[in-house]
Structures are given as structure tokens and as C-alpha cells.
Symmetry: C2
Subunit: 104 residues, 2 copies
DNA sequence: TTTATCAATGAGTGTATAGTCATATGCTCT
DNA sequence: AGAGCATATGACTATACACTCATTGATAAA
């Protein structure tokens, strides 16, 4: 079995890329098909498809087939909590940097 | 200014690598100097140093000098919450896979 | 001021990743 | 069966990354 540490790294890696972050942000409101996702994030269909499949493998997304379309969703609601924490920390860092600038 | 989405990706990327995960796990108990970290995780000093600096840039760690030694700490306690969520999701996925195997 | 110690960096290598374009697969409907 | 749409994949390129070995920089102690 894959080591727990590698599985964690894989899941984090699946979150750690701008295009994939755009997808995750877009999926906040619920499931969407590829044909909705790639225009919304401004990426090519093929590139979007690769990222989606990658996030499936990492356990970040799940998918459902309906006719021709394939609908993707965030698999674990914890993903949103993780994203909120990350955003909070980044904002704190930005604020901290500004304070330092002001102090200088 | 860097886009918020890129800053988030940078911070997540700083967490998304086995060697760096080992460092973060090791820093759970508090600050440690490089000379303690690299033997603990079984990596070369130079490699460890690069990862540490990378995590500083991403806002994951902070550091403090004391004589010859440089002590690194987790900068935001939220990092631990993020790690706990990731671990939880990965474990759920492992369990889910096992159930499928049993059912098959 | 020499020596020893801790940490960071330069240079190089091999591999992984993101992206593109073209094509293939699979499903639906006529 | 054939046309048309939605998604996935093959092949390729350019860039980023992790790592190693050797060296440098900086502080401390003798």
C-alpha cells in the first residue's frame, strides 16, 4: 500500500496548482460538467480534463456520468475547510507584509 | 502584487511534498534547528536547507537565529488543522477502497 | 587568528509537470 | 449504421522540481 505520507502529498499536490484551484473554486456551488468547467476557468478542454482526472486519482473530486456529460464534484467537504484555512493564512501574511512596509 | 490564487497555490505546494511533510510532522512539537531536523527526517543537510527556505518563502515556517543555529517553527497553527483534515480524508479514501475490495 | 561547526548556495542531473494540438473513444439521436 | 457532441488520450515541448556533491559564509570557541 502507498505510504500515508505519499497519499497526503498527492492530495495536497492536487490542490497546489492555480488551474486546479480555479476548478475547485468553481465547484464550490456544486457539481459541474467538463463543458461548463473549462470555459469558466478559461483553459483548454484537454488540459482541464487532465487536471480533473488527476484530482480524481488524488481523491479530491468524484464524478458522475449522465448521458454524454460527466459531472465533477468536490469529494470531501473538508476540502472547503482546508481552502478557507489556506486563504486565511495567506491573507494574514499579506497583511503582515504591509505592516512591515508601513513600519519601515 | 501576486494574485491571491498564486499565493494559495504556493502555500499548498510548500505542503505537498513528502520531504516537507516529514519536516512539518517533526515540527509538531515545536521549534527545531536544522541540525536536529535533517537527521530526524533522514535527508541531506543541503536538501533539508532548501526545503526549509522554500517553506519560509511560502509562509509556512518562520525562523529564529540563536548563535550558530537557526530554529524553524510552523508559522501558523492553522497548518496543523489543514494537515489533520488531509489525513482524515486520505484515511477515509483508504477505508473506502478496502470496502470496495471486500464487496468485489 | 586559527579551527570547528552550522547553515546556505552554486552547479549539475534526472524526472515530473503543465500545457498544446491533433486524434481517439464513447454515447446519443436520427 | 452514421452524424454529432462531450470527454479522454497520445505525442510533444518547455519549464519546474528534488536531489547530490562540493563549496562558501557566518558565528563561536580555542
Amino acid at each position: 500500500m502507498r505510504e500515508l505520507i505519499d497519499l497526503r502529498a498527492d492530495m495536497l499536490k492536487a490542490l497546489a496548482q492555480p488551474t486546479r484551484l480555479k476548478i475547485i473554486d468553481f465547484l464550490r456551488d456544486g457539481e459541474r460538467c467538463v463543458c461548463e468547467i473549462f470555459p469558466a476557468i478559461g483553459e483548454e478542454q484537454s488540459n482541464t480534463s487532465r487536471h480533473l482526472n488527476m484530482m480524481i486519482s488524488a481523491g479530491v473530486l468524484s464524478r458522475r456520468k449522465d448521458g454524454l456529460k460527466i459531472y465533477y464534484t468536490i469529494k470531501h467537504p473538508e476540502i472547503f475547510a482546508v481552502m478557507d484555512y489556506i486563504t486565511e493564512m495567506v491573507k494574514q501574511d499579506i497583511y503582515g507584509r504591509h505592516s512591515l512596509l508601513k513600519a519601515a
